[in-house]
Symmetry: C2
Subunit: 215 residues, 2 copies
DNA sequence: ACCTGAACACCGTTCAAGT
DNA sequence: ACCTGAACACCGTTCAAGT
């Protein structure tokens, strides 16, 4: 029984926080404006006073989440600063799994990525890297974090669901050892490297190490 | 005027190829089973004879695309082989942009990723890398390709749309130079490193170079 | 400006039925 | 088995109207 919300008690902040709650609760795929409106105790069209359409709301939620990014630690060596920024973004994505999907599916308005960019670029540029190298490195690091963490979240989601876990095992066992000899041989190692801090840091350190020898 | 397709002329292969055509034509977001059925000249429920539901069809399309991955070049040094596999996956994603979205949004049954895994793992393992290092490196490389290429596709899509390009420019210009000094300063370099072969290879070589010094 | 209510043009999927 | 047709429970969004 949804009680009607009185007039003028709605706000874009309230809508965003309730939308975020629903996206994290039931998943981004099953999120709908009608369900959100119902949860807020208003008609579906009330939301259109604050957002032009559904995509506009998606962008607002994504911007809100990106605003939670921690600041770059000052006075540390650049490899540690790079690590801090990348880990911070990963942590944020893990805490808010819908952020990964929002970053992957929605085109970017640019403003919210500027926060990450400023952190990484600032560190790299003041560490002495050239303009183009700094830009290239930033894009490389950012896309690595995006890919690695999205993948990690997806694997974790699949493994949480008992049905998905069963499907994962059966397909893994059905792989023919002649067609996929190495995968079958290294299956236990592969299962252990689908995510986690260690796996993330391994790739991150590979990039940083490559960056060291290049400069 | 949709002519009715006669009985028994449907097949899962035909459905998959038509679905792929629609996904690439009008985009994955606006793809629907009803539209697909209309295009095939059958009722919406005819598809359910061959696929359990929409997600099942998504998986089938993704598997079909992953089957197009080129084989690993034999008899080359491992860095070149790694480069070949990663570039092959990127090329496939660029040729079929919906693949990026399919890999990012749908959980994996495991079988189709085995093709990439076998290529990368095989190369790394026979190059002398230990079991765990080979597994970790594979996941790192795979997620890098995924993130870098997804990002690249997204930026290209945004820039193709004139409305999106305008939005991108205005938000870039609206960034305050005091809040985002480095981003504003390096804006031209950033714009040039949002994608392309050079950018992809830069990150890939960073990883390979890091891998060299680690071993 | 802020919000409602009805309506439009869609969805994926179930179910019973036909061949 | 292969496919239809009606129906159910949803969608996002437009439009005219009310306060």
């Amino acid at each position: 029984m949804a009680t009607r919300t009185p007039r003028n008690s709605l706000s874009s902040e309230l809508i965003i926080s309730k939308a975020l709650e629903l996206m994290e609760g039931r998943g981004l795929d099953s999120f709908s404006l009608r369900a959100l409106a119902g949860e807020l105790g208003v008609g579906p069209m009330a939301i259109y006073t604050y957002f032009r359409n559904k995509d506009d709301l998606y962008d607002a939620v994504r911007d809100h989440l990106m605003g939670l990014l921690p600041a770059v630690p000052a006075g540390a060596a650049w490899p540690d600063q790079v690590r801090a920024v990348c880990r911070g973004l990963r942590r944020l994505m893990l805490q808010h799994p819908c952020l990964a999907q929002l970053l992957a599916s929605r085109p970017l308005s640019g403003h919210e990525t500027a926060r990450v960019a400023e952190g990484l670029l600032g560190v790299l540029h003041s560490a002495g890297f050239g303009r183009e190298i700094a830009a290239r490195t930033h894009t490389t690091l950012f896309t690595y974090v995006l890919g690695a963490t999205s993948w990690e979240i997806q694997m974790a989601t699949e493994q949480r669901d008992p049905e998905g876990l069963r499907r994962l095992r059966t397909t893994m066992e059905s792989l023919s050892a002649t067609e996929f000899p190495t995968v079958v041989d290294l299956a236990p190692e592969l299962a252990r490297t689908t995510g986690g801090d260690e796996q993330f840091d391994y790739g991150l350190d590979l990039l940083i190490s490559g960056l060291r020898t290049a400069s």
